[in-house]
Symmetry: C2
């Protein structure tokens, strides 16, 4: 959707093989890839079912963590091609190594997509921990990521944690605010639903960084989810108020 996207590429060479990829982005990306076009290649020797399995694993920890504005598109594609030219065969013995390398390349590309999100000025990691189950963790992280009020607060460099709780609370899943605690990077702002006597200037500094991680510990179970997103800026409105397919 962006009219002037930055090139997004990544490559990794190790263990006798190379994995390289390119991607375009980055609007309408939610909750799984969408408007994302990416091609990853490797010279490993690997059969198609194992390659597909590796790609699914890597995508879950990379492209599927990306949310830009909550809108979706119809033409997301991720291709992985293996030429076999390295002569290094991937099998059960070195599969974990291959997935790790592939995940690293995909994560690199996915992060670049978020950084190039329409009008993005901040890279925000939403980390939900100790959710009752994986579905709840994902729903809460996603709802925080798409909340216009959360996104504009980050744009304004405002550590407005109440909006994080608001978004979590409207995610449509069970949450007990008296068990929930919140951090911006390593600064804890909320414990068991109550604000701590934290340094507000420092909290706002953290919220205004180019990269910040919000950790919301729900205290409900053992599931967690990570979403990478960006803020909602004047530039996003300019781009999408005047862009036409």
């Amino acid at each position: 959707m962006t009219t002037d996207t930055k090139p997004k590429s990544a490559s990794l060479t190790a263990n006798g093989i190379t994995i390289a990829g390119i991607a375009k982005g980055a609007g309408m990306i939610a909750p799984n890839m969408a408007t994302m076009l990416s091609c990853v290649v490797t010279d490993a020797v690997i059969d198609a079912p194992l390659l597909q399995k590796a790609l699914m694993e890597a995508t879950g920890k990379s492209f599927n963590r990306v949310v830009i504005d909550g809108d979706m598109s119809t033409n997301d594609s991720l291709l992985l091609l293996a030429s076999g030219r390295s002569g290094v065969t991937i099998n059960e013995a070195n599969y974990a190594m291959f997935v790790e390398m592939l995940t690293a390349v995909c994560e690199n590309l996915a992060r670049k997509i978020v950084r190039d999100g329409e009008g993005a000025t901040r890279f925000i990691t939403i980390h939900v921990t100790h959710a009752a189950n994986a579905h709840d963790a994902r729903e809460i992280a996603n709802t925080i990521a798409i909340s216009p009020l959360v996104k504009t607060a980050f744009y304004g460099g405002d550590a407005n944690w109440g909006r994080i709780f608001m978004a979590a609370g409207r995610a449509g899943v069970l949450m007990d605010q008296t068990k929930a605690s919140l951090w911006y990077d390593d600064l804890q702002l909320v414990q068991n639903g109550l604000p701590l006597n934290y340094d507000e200037t420092r909290a706002n500094q953290l919220a205004a960084q180019p990269e910040v991680t919000v950790t919301l510990d729900l205290g409900m179970g053992s599931a967690d989810a990570i979403i990478w997103t960006c803020d909602l800026s004047h530039e996003y409105v300019s781009i999408n108020g005047h862009y036409r397919t």
Copy 2:
């Protein structure tokens, strides 16, 4: 949430009684009232259960049609008080009249809340017709209303109907695009999923109006839903990037 809200009041006198109301707004309003504080009074003589029933009916066609940005709040309140001073008793015989008057007052207030939405420059009615059921109609109307891409297109005065279809398609309910048709006011742009040879200049003029109605006919059944919403402007980002509770 707005720092400089406009006063919102409405009253109606007829049939020997008066109904009057005031409201505040207007951010974080979705999908049912939220951050909305309103008090409506009447001098009718009416017992509490019937009054409650009337208020539920009126709210369904007024306050619960309002969506601003998809975010929710925790302190929505709508109160209806009846003093009985008019001496006019509401019973089964004139209940319909009372509900009609009450709905008119509530609709007037609800529309004012949308017009005073944070940074709003347009009043947009999303009318979904011929949905398979009421739930689907509501989900599709709501998803269109909260889509940042739909909202920014209206801000830019751009009749970008593809974004309406995108949002409908991501609502999480079954939709057959080959049965769907779309109008901006009385101008039909799409029939059975295919764009007509419509006047694009006129379509953009309609999208740029202070008030516009988008009608999406799904051709699936007989349910419908109406949502009133506003656009997403630079001013919304300014207000919420710098507002702090």
